[in-house]
C-alpha cells in the first residue's frame, strides 16, 4: 500500500542525503520525494510516498526519527489531506489536432502555458489520478516531453498539522480536530 509521509527536517546542508541514504540502506523503495521550504526559514518540508505495509510504515517512521536532523514525521496516508502533483506536458498539436487537444485540456481544467507551431505545453496540477487521466487521453496525439514534480501533501483544516519548533522546544503533533471539507 502506498504511504504518504510528511517529514519536517532542519534546513541544513546534507539533510536530504541523510534521508535518501536511510531509505536506500534499509531497502525501502521511494516512489516520490519532494522537498521545499516552509513558512519557517530553518525548517524544510518533505513529502515522501513509499510502498510499504503497516509494520514497515511504522519502522520507516521510527528510522526517520533516528536521524538527528528530523524534526517531525507524520504519516498522513489515512488522514484527510490534500495531495497535489504538478505536471507540464508537451504534446504534439498540428493544425488539425489542436482544437481537440485544447478541448481535452479544458475538460481537465489544465492550462496551456506555451504555444508553438507544432506543439503545446499544458500545465496541470491535481491528484495523481487526474494527471494520469489527462496523460492517457493526450497520448494518441503524441506526448513529446513530460515532467512531474512528485506529490506534495497537506492536512485539511485550519490548523497546521504540527507546530514547528521555535528553537529547542520539542515538536508536538496536533489533534485531528477542526477539519474542513473538500471544496
Amino acid at each position: 500500500m502506498m504511504n504518504t509521509f510528511v517529514v519536517y527536517v532542519e534546513n541544513k546542508p546534507g539533510v536530504l542525503t541523510r534521508v535518501a541514504s536511510l531509505f536506500r540502506r534499509r531497502a525501502f523503495n521511494i516512489d516520490s520525494l519532494t522537498v521545499g521550504r516552509t513558512e519557517k526559514r530553518e525548517v524544510s518540508r518533505m513529502t515522501i510516498t513509499i510502498d510499504a505495509d503497516h509494520d514497515q510504515a511504522l519502522r520507516i517512521e521510527a528510522n526517520l526519527y533516528k536521524l538527528v536532523n528530523v524534526l517531525l514525521v507524520e504519516n498522513i496516508t489515512t488522514v484527510p489531506a490534500l495531495v497535489r502533483d504538478l505536471a507540464m506536458i508537451k504534446v504534439a498539436a498540428t493544425h488539425e489536432a489542436r482544437s481537440h487537444v485544447l478541448e481535452l485540456a479544458s475538460i481537465f481544467r489544465a492550462r496551456v502555458v506555451d504555444v508553438a507551431p507544432e506543439s503545446l505545453i499544458i500545465e496541470i496540477s491535481g491528484g495523481e489520478d487526474k494527471i494520469d487521466g489527462l496523460l492517457e487521453v493526450l497520448r494518441p496525439y503524441g506526448v513529446l516531453e513530460m515532467v512531474r514534480t512528485g506529490i506534495v501533501a497537506m492536512r485539511r483544516g485550519n490548523k497546521p498539522s504540527v507546530t514547528l519548533p521555535s528553537s529547542a522546544a520539542p515538536v508536538q503533533a496536533m489533534a485531528d480536530d477542526d477539519l474542513s471539507q473538500s471544496v
Binding site: 532542519e10 546542508p13 541514504s21 540502506r25 509494520d55 538527528v68 519548533p165 528553537s167 515538536v171
Partner: protein, 569 residues
C-alpha cells in the same frame, strides 16, 4: 576569550571529561596536534587509525565513558571506517575527530581529501563537517551528547584545516547543543506497563533474554531483582554476558548459534519471552519462522526502530531499561516457577556429559581448556577479557564465566577481526587497575598486531593469549560442515608469534601441552610488563553446539557423545 579552533577542540574535550585520546597525526589535523602541548589530555600514538577507533571503543565499553579517536584527512579518516562500523553495530559511544582539507579546497580532489562525512553517513549515529571555528564548540558539545545519550553510538566530527587555524570568541556556556529533533528520552505509555505485567503474571514458562542494553543502561540490579522475584530464568546474548553473574542460579548462559542446547531449547519451549535491551539478531534467533512460536513477547528497548524489526512482539516498552524495570518491579508478584526451572535443569544433564572439560588429559591442547584454565586462574580478580572474532570468541563465551558487567569486551554485531588487541589497549587505559587479557586467534591477531608497539610505547600491562591453530578456524569449521571440508584459503602459514613479541621487547612463551597452561598463565600474571603466550592448540577443533545459519534454534549440531577426540590422534 579569543582562541583558535585547535585550542577550542582540546578545551571542549577536557570539559567533556576526556583524559585520553587515541590518534595518529597528519597534514590536515596538524594545527590540532600543535595545540595539544597546552592540553592536559594524554595522546596515545597508535600504529594504524583502525586501531585508534577500536581503542576508543574498548575505552568506552570498559568505562561507560565516551572514547575519542583522532586522525587526519583522506587515508587517515578512511582507515577509521571499520572501527566506526564496529562501534555502530554494538552501540558504543565514541567520537572520531578527523582533519579535513581547507574549506576552500573541499570538492576539488585536493591532496588527502576524502568525503568522510559522506562515507560514514550510514555507519555513524550522526556526523558533522565543521568549516568555521565559530561552529566548533557547539558541534563538539552536540557530538558528545548524541554519542552518549539514548542508544549510544559513534559520532564523527570532520574539521577543516582553516577552521582549526582560525580564531574566534570561545564561550562554552553559550555553545549549548541545539538539537530540536533529537529525542533520546522516551518512556512507555502506562497502558503498555499494564499489558506487560499481565503477560508476566499469566505466564507459566517465561524466560528473560538479556542483552547489551542492560549493561549500557546500568540495569544489572533491576534485572536480577526481576528474575529473582518472579522466578524467571535468564539467557544472555554475547554482549549481555556479565550483566547477570554466571554463577547466579537463574543464569542459563549464552543463547543462539553457539549457545548451550538447554538454553536454546528453553527459549523454544517458553510461553513468554521478556527481551531486555537486545535486538533479536539473527545469530540469537536462528530461523525466524520457527523461533519461539508458542511464546508471547515483551520487548524493552530504547530504540523504537528495533521494535518489530525481526520478531513481532506483543508488548513494546520503549525507554531506558533501568527506568522501565524500576517502574514495574514494585508490581511484580512473587511466583513459584519451580516446575519450569526443574524442567530446564533436566535439559542441562545431557549437555554436561558432552562437555570437553570432562575429557581426560591425552596430551592434546584444546582452546576450551586454555580458556577454562585462564578463568580458573583469574576469576574474582577484576579481570577484563577482550576477545577477537571467531572460534576462540565463542569458546571464551562458553568457558569463561563472567561475573561482572564490562568484564568481556568483544565485537558482536559487526564481528570485526583485529578488534581485540587495540580494544584491549583502550580497556587498559580506561581501567588501569584491571587485569586485561587479550584472547585472539592467529588470523585476527595478524590484522592489527602492529599495535604491539603501542602497548610497549604506552608501557601497558596487557597479557595476550594467541589461540594458534594454524587456520582461520571458524571459516574452516563452516567449510567442514557446509562445504564438504574444502579448506580453501583457510590454512595459515604463521610467523613465530613468540619471536615477534621478542622483537617488540615483550616477554613471551609458547605452550603446547595442557599441563603447561596454568604455570604459564601464572607467570604472565606475575610479570609486571606485557606478555604474549602462543598457545598451539588442536588444529581442527570445532565449536559445539552450533545452529547452522538459517536453521531453527532447536536444530543444533551437538557435541559428539560420548566425547571423542576431534583431532586425528
Amino acid at each position: 576569550m579569543m582562541k583558535t579552533g585547535a585550542q577550542i577542540l582540546w578545551e571542549c574535550l577536557e570539559r567533556e571529561g576526556v583524559t585520553h585520546v587515541f590518534g595518529y597525526p597528519g597534514g590536515a589535523i596538524l594545527p590540532a596536534y600543535d595545540a595539544l602541548k597546552h592540553s592536559s589530555i594524554h595522546h596515545v600514538l597508535v600504529r594504524h587509525e583502525q586501531g585508534a577507533t577500536h581503542m576508543a571503543d574498548g575505552y568506552a565499553r570498559a568505562s561507560g565513558q565516551v572514547g575519542v579517536a583522532v586522525a587526519t584527512s583522506g587515508p587517515g579518516a578512511t582507515n577509521m571506517v571499520t572501527g566506526i562500523a564496529t562501534a555502530m553495530l554494538d552501540s558504543s559511544p565514541i567520537v572520531c575527530i578527523t582533519g579535513q582539507v581547507g574549506s576552500k579546497l573541499i570538492g576539488s580532489d585536493a591532496f588527502q581529501e576524502t568525503d568522510i562525512t559522506g562515507i560514514t553517513l550510514p555507519i555513524t549515529k550522526h556526523n558533522y563537517l565543521v568549516t568555521r571555528a565559530e561552529e566548533l564548540a557547539r558541534t563538539m558539545r552536540e557530538a558528545f551528547y548524541v554519542a552518549r545519550s539514548g542508544r549510544p553510538g559513534p559520532v564523527l566530527v570532520d574539521i577543516t584545516k582553516d577552521a582549526q587555524q582560525a580564531s574566534c570568541e570561545f564561550d562554552w556556556n553559550a555553545a549549548k547543543p541545539q538539537l530540536p529533533g533529537y529525542r533520546p528520552d522516551l518512556s512507555p505509555a502506562p497502558k503498555e506497563y499494564e499489558r506487560a505485567l499481565a503477560l508476566i503474571h499469566n505466564s507459566k514458562r517465561p524466560i528473560i533474554l538479556l542483552g547489551h542494553g542492560a549493561i549500557v543502561s546500568g540495569a544489572m540490579r533491576e534485572v536480577r531483582d526481576l528474575a529473582e522475584s518472579a522466578g524467571i530464568p535468564v539467557a544472555l546474548t554475547l554482549l549481555g554476558l556479565g550483566a547477570l553473574p554466571a554463577s547466579h542460579p537463574l543464569n542459563l548462559g549464552m543463547m543462539g548459534m553457539h549457545g548451550e542446547a538447554w538454553v536454546n531449547h528453553t527459549i523454544q519451549e517458553a510461553d513468554l519471552l521478556i527481551a531486555l535491551g537486545m535486538r533479536f539478531d539473527d545469530r540469537v534467533t536462528g530461523n525466524l519462522k520457527t523461533y519461539a512460536c508458542n511464546a508471547k513477547k515483551i520487548h524493552v528497548e530504547i530504540d523504537p526502530a528495533e521494535i518489530n524489526k525481526n520478531v513481532k512482539v506483543d508488548v513494546a516498552l520503549v525507554g531506558d531499561l533501568r527506568e522501565v524495570l524500576q517502574a514495574i518491579l514494585p508490581r511484580i508478584e512473587t511466583i513459584d516457577r519451580s516446575e519450569w526451572l526443574d524442567s530446564i535443569d533436566r535439559l542441562k544433564g545431557d549437555s554436561a556429559v558432552r562437555d570437553i572439560q570432562n575429557l581426560p588429559d591425552s596430551g592434546h591442547l584444546y582452546a576450551a581448556h586454555v580458556i577454562n584454565d585462564l578463568w580458573r586462574e583469574t576469576r574474582g580478580s577484576n579481570t577484563v577479557i577482550v576477545t577477537d572474532v571467531g572460534q576462540h570468541q565463542m569458546w571464551e563465551a562458553q568457558y569463561y564465566k563472567h561475573e561482572e558487567p564490562r568484564s568481556l569486551i568483544t565485537s558482536g554485531g559487526l564481528g570485526t577481526m583485529g578488534f581485540a588487541l587495540p580494544a584491549a589497549i583502550g580497556v587498559k587505559v580506561a581501567r588501569p587497575d584491571a587485569e586485561v587479557w587479550v584472547i585472539v586467534g592467529d588470523g585476527g591477531f595478524q590484522m592489527t598486531m602492529c599495535e604491539l608497539a603501542t602497548v610497549v610505547q604506552e608501557k601497558l600491562k596487557i597479557n595476550i593469549a594467541v589461540i594458534n591453530n594454524g587456520f582461520l578456524g571458524m571459516v574452516r569449521q563452516w567449510q567442514e560442515f557446509f562445504y564438504e571440508r574444502n579448506y580453501q584459503a583457510t590454512p595459515l602459514l604463521n610467523p613465530d608469534f613468540a619471536k615477534l613479541a621478542e622483537a617488540y621487547g615483550i616477554r613471551n612463551a609458547t605452550v603446547t601441552q595442557r599441563s603447561k597452561v596454568v604455570p604459564t598463565v601464572q607467570a604472565a600474571r606475575q610479570h609486571d610488563g606485557p606478555m604474549l603466550i602462543n598457545f598451539h592448540v588442536e588444529q581442527e577443533d570445532t565449536v559445539y553446539p552450533m545452529v547452522a545459519a538459517g536453521a531453527a534454534l532447536h536444530e543444533m549440531i551437538r557435541r559428539p557423545s560420548p566425547i571423542v577426540e576431534t583431532a586425528a590422534d
